[in-house]
């Protein structure tokens, strides 16, 4: 079997193990790998001295499918990549095609998109928090997190009928007008959510076990994070103040005030703090946005048959997990010539090896959790 080989980046594959060394296969069926991730760990006792991620178990070839669908037909497929943040995927795709068509969604559509996308960010971070804490041994936060996430999913359900793979947006704007009580629902959620985040923090932030399991684990320095291409909370926890919502604003983000939380050491605990603060900032964005939703049309003038002029765009948004980029080439026909999806999870997962080296097997679980990967997006 090829299972006793570990390939170090920069090294030739080694087949010989030292007397104390052991190769451990973790996954693909392992509850804390958050899907079908398989990690080959090379261990010296309990300590990780090398690792290799084996991915592709969930590969569905969405980029190939995209070349055989029309622009609108492909839109629901992107929901199935990062299936816990489908709204964000849809936003990135729709905006990329709009850029290709050189149209812009009307202001009302952009604000509603922003609200839903920020709710989605909270939902995605809640799922991360619940499962991450569960992996490390804290059972309670999971139930709290799912309680709040449920409220967000209910808003999505009321808006478009779906909870997870929402397909909430359309190229050029929105399919559905906001339902009557959308603002009220969002406001009620945001009002309640403030004290709920305090509840999570009470459970974890000063918890000695939590501190012991996350402080100093999986450190990623700023230069390392940039070199490995990490984006999103993983990059910010390393101290790089960079958020695409601020750097290259899209949707309606330029209208709202919010802070970009950053960490200092780039360990698992910092990433926890950054994501907690991001949830609070997302809540503030939602509150600002529902104050003033402009009236007007929700759909720009786009034809029923989309034939973007030949050319190409790369459009990236700040998805909950990092930079989600779409590189789309049009040849002037109804089908895209090429759709490349730059998945944040895939690139962030690459940092796993350098983060895990030197830590214990139990910490591997914490590191996978803190990277916040979704295998649907890693494998596409």
């Amino acid at each position: 079997m090829a299972n006793d080989t570990i390939t170090d980046p920069g090294d030739k594959p080694k087949t010989l193990l030292g007397a104390d060394e052991l190769v451990l296969n973790m996954g693909p069926q392992h509850p804390s790998t958050h899907g079908v991730l398989r990690v080959k760990l090379k261990l010296d006792g309990e300590r990780v001295i090398g690792s290799e991620c084996m991915i592709g178990y969930l590969h569905r070839g969405v980029e190939k499918i995209a070349e055989h669908r029309s622009y609108q037909q492909f839109a629901p497929y992107v929901d199935r990549m990062d299936y816990v943040a489908a709204v964000s995927n849809g936003l990135g795709y729709c905006e990329a095609i709009e850029k290709l068509l050189m149209v812009e969604a009307p202001p009302r559509a952009r604000v509603i998109r922003t609200i839903l996308t920020e709710l989605q960010r909270i939902a995605s971070h809640l799922l991360w928090l619940g499962t991450h804490a569960l992996d490390i041994g804290a059972l309670t936060p999971l139930f709290y997190c799912f309680r709040e996430r449920e409220e967000i999913l209910k808003i999505f359900e009321k808006y478009c009928g779906a909870r997870l793979t929402t397909h909430a947006f359309r190229i050029g704007g929105l399919q559905y007008e906001a339902y009557d009580t959308l603002e009220k629902d969002v406001e009620r959620f945001c009002k309640a959510f403030d004290s709920r985040t305090k509840d999570y923090e009470e459970l974890l932030t000063q918890n000695r076990i939590w501190l012991g399991r996350t402080k100093g684990i999986g450190i990623l320095k700023a230069e390392e994070a940039i070199a490995i291409g990490a984006t999103g909370p993983v990059l910010r926890a390393s101290g790089v103040k960079w958020d695409l919502r601020k750097a290259m604003p899209y949707a309606a983000y330029d209208q709202y005030k919010f802070e970009i939380p950053v960490g200092t050491t780039g360990d698992t605990y910092d990433r926890y703090l950054v994501r907690m603060e991001e949830m609070r900032q997302s809540r503030l964005i939602c509150l600002q946005a529902i104050e003033n939703i402009p009236s007007g049309p929700i759909m720009a003038k786009v034809g029923k048959v989309l034939k973007p002029p030949p050319g190409e765009v790369y459009h990236a948004i700040e998805a909950p997990k990092g930079e989600l980029g779409y590189y789309v080439i049009s040849d002037g026909t109804v089908q895209p010539y090429r759709v490349r999806i730059r998945p944040p999870s895939f690139v962030n997962l690459q940092a796993f090896d350098q983060m895990a080296r030197g830590h214990l097997v139990a910490d591997v679980v914490a590191i996978i959790g803190t990277l916040d990967i979704v295998l649907g997006e890693v494998d596409r």
């Binding site: 980029e63 190939k64 790369y314 026909t333 010539y337 730059r342």
Partner: protein
Amino acid sequence: MADEPKEKQPSPVPAGDQPASSPAVAPPAKPAAAAPPAAAPPKPAAPVPAKPPVQLQTPLTNEMVGRVRAKFGTALVEAIEDRKQAILTVECAKLGEVAQYLRDEEKFDLLSDLTAVDWPKREKRFDVVLNLYSFAKNERLRIKARAADGEEVPSVTGVWPTANWLEREAFDMYGIVFAGHPNLTRILLPEEWQGYPLRKDYDIIEQDTTWVKDNLGIESGQ
């Protein structure tokens, strides 16, 4: 949306210009032929009338392009702008040096994405596409290198370590060989898989039937 019908009078100028810019290889003939009948009778109520093809790829000249040209001369094959995005095409063999220069001197420190595109009708059928980002300038830049089937493309893993998996994916999907890559193996597909699925001549329902039979024990994966 700019709805007023844009009249693009000088068709010969862009048409002569177009074959150089890659995405325009097929379309100029087709929309030009298809546009007049579509615009004239059948859909008067359609919100967007079929427009004559507008030349969106324009030559790009700015200080950075000047510096790159001064340093690399003819190795910079083309510099164009498409929808306000800067795109540089460089000679494949020089990709490594250009990458090093852009990271060190022009501060493009983040490799957002590396991928490939297949243009089977072209002599050098692949485009290796790098999407760069500079934190200092808050700017994006796209670098392309054309490579023939089997031609070795210099790996940029030494410049941006993140290229490691991205190049493996390009190899997996297109069979592009990156010279100097530390571990160029398939990443998403099984190691024994035959064929490169994202090539244009690989059909959407095509698969490695031998692999499927041997490993899944079924005649067809469909």
